[in-house]
Amino acid sequence: MQMLNRQKKSNKIIKKSHLLIIGSLLVFFGVIVLSWNHLLWLKDAIYSDMMLMISDEVQQEEIIENIPDVEVLPKDDENDNSSGNNIAPPEETQQKPINYDKYLGVLEIPRIGLKRGFYGTDSKYNDIRYNVTMVSGSSMPDVNRGNLILMAHSGDAYISYFAYLYRLSIGNDIYVTYNKVKYHYKLVNIYNVDKTGKVSIVRNYDKTTLTLITCTKDDSTKQTVYIAELI
């Protein structure tokens, strides 16, 4: 009778091994859930590094252009005014379509260890939900007196690429690589504006500038604008 009771008891009671394994599983998945955001940020960083590697590789490939045939035309009696040999106009070459799936440029801020590619305004990846975003209407760094405007989130999310921008100070270096050329900027101005949906950019119109926009740290009502000038 006692043996039967003991057997019944052992069937009803959850075994210690089961409890321990359930506890271990809970701890394991709990750690995963708590660090999910951070793991996504790391995954994003890895993908970004790979994309940078790919875009570096693509830029190093030689682009073989169709060299136009140069034809020397015989001297035409009717065109006595022509001086020397005439060069035939080159044949129209078919331009390579621009691949917007690759980075258009790379933003680098050594002071905060940021190196991030950005897409052109025509790319579907040019979206603040996924990347550092180029604002439409921006000029590329090779445009004299132009202004390249980039924006991104700040905060704790894995897409907060401008999270550490608040650590920058006047005089810090910023680099933008575009079309195999590395442009060197110096930070000249930092100011806050109210978050109204519109941002006023105050810059020197005689200089080529770079503008970075992000939300102000610890202030949900403002945005911070960073103005850098090309050296």
Binding site: S17, L20, I21, F28, L42, I46, D49, M50, I54
Partner: protein
């Protein structure tokens, strides 16, 4: 920079005896070693617990004082592991397949594994082998250079095959680890 073993030892001893701090560290380490060594004979549990607490506190103190660097180290380690998961080199991928082959042999020959575990193993390994052969055939068809990571992973099919393979391998590894842990708990507590 190019020192032989004895020159390195010489430098370390010179440092250890050059300052009061160095001598102190050396004496404390020796005392700790003597204490634990003598405790093997006397078997006092309190000494063992004390030693564990001292070592633990030392590690925690160092970590707290250098928490930024510790967090950087953890990120670096995690990033390295995740890089091998998302964009492994072909050496790593082939090593995983080689490991899978060994596990298949163990599963086939093992008498201790339950039927359910064997079925799960055969299923996972079968899928991994299918993906591996698909990888080989797509590499040959597209003429991709196996040593060139960029060329390899700009091909969507190869990228998908490698990442799904790694995902299945990791899920199987986690399942196996917990299975063995459960067996251990059962043996010890039930």
């Amino acid at each position: 920079m190019f020192m032989n073993f004895f020159e390195k030892l010489q430098i370390i001893f010179k440092y250890a005896l050059s300052s009061f701090l160095g001598i102190e560290l050396l004496i404390l380490t020796l005392l700790f070693f003597i204490l634990l060594g003598l405790n093997i004979k006397y078997k006092k549990k309190i000494i063992n617990y004390f030693a564990i607490i001292v070592v633990g506190m030392f590690i925690v103190t160092v970590m707290v004082l250098n928490k930024d660097y510790v967090s950087y180290c953890i990120d670096f380690l995690l990033k390295g592991i995740m890089k091998y998961i998302y964009f492994p080199s072909t050496v790593i991928y082939f090593s995983i397949i080689f490991l899978i082959t060994i596990f298949i042999v163990i599963t086939v020959l093992s008498k201790k594994l339950t039927l359910f575990k064997k079925v799960i193993n055969y299923l996972c390994f079968g899928i991994l082998y299918f993906l591996f052969f698909s990888f080989i055939s797509s590499v040959i068809n597209s003429g991709v250079n196996l040593a060139d990571k960029v060329q390899l992973y700009t091909n969507d099919l190869i990228l998908a095959i490698v990442q799904i393979s790694n995902f299945i391998f990791i899920v199987w590894s986690i399942y196996t680890a917990f299975w063995y842990l459960f067996k251990y708990f059962k043996r010890k507590y039930d």
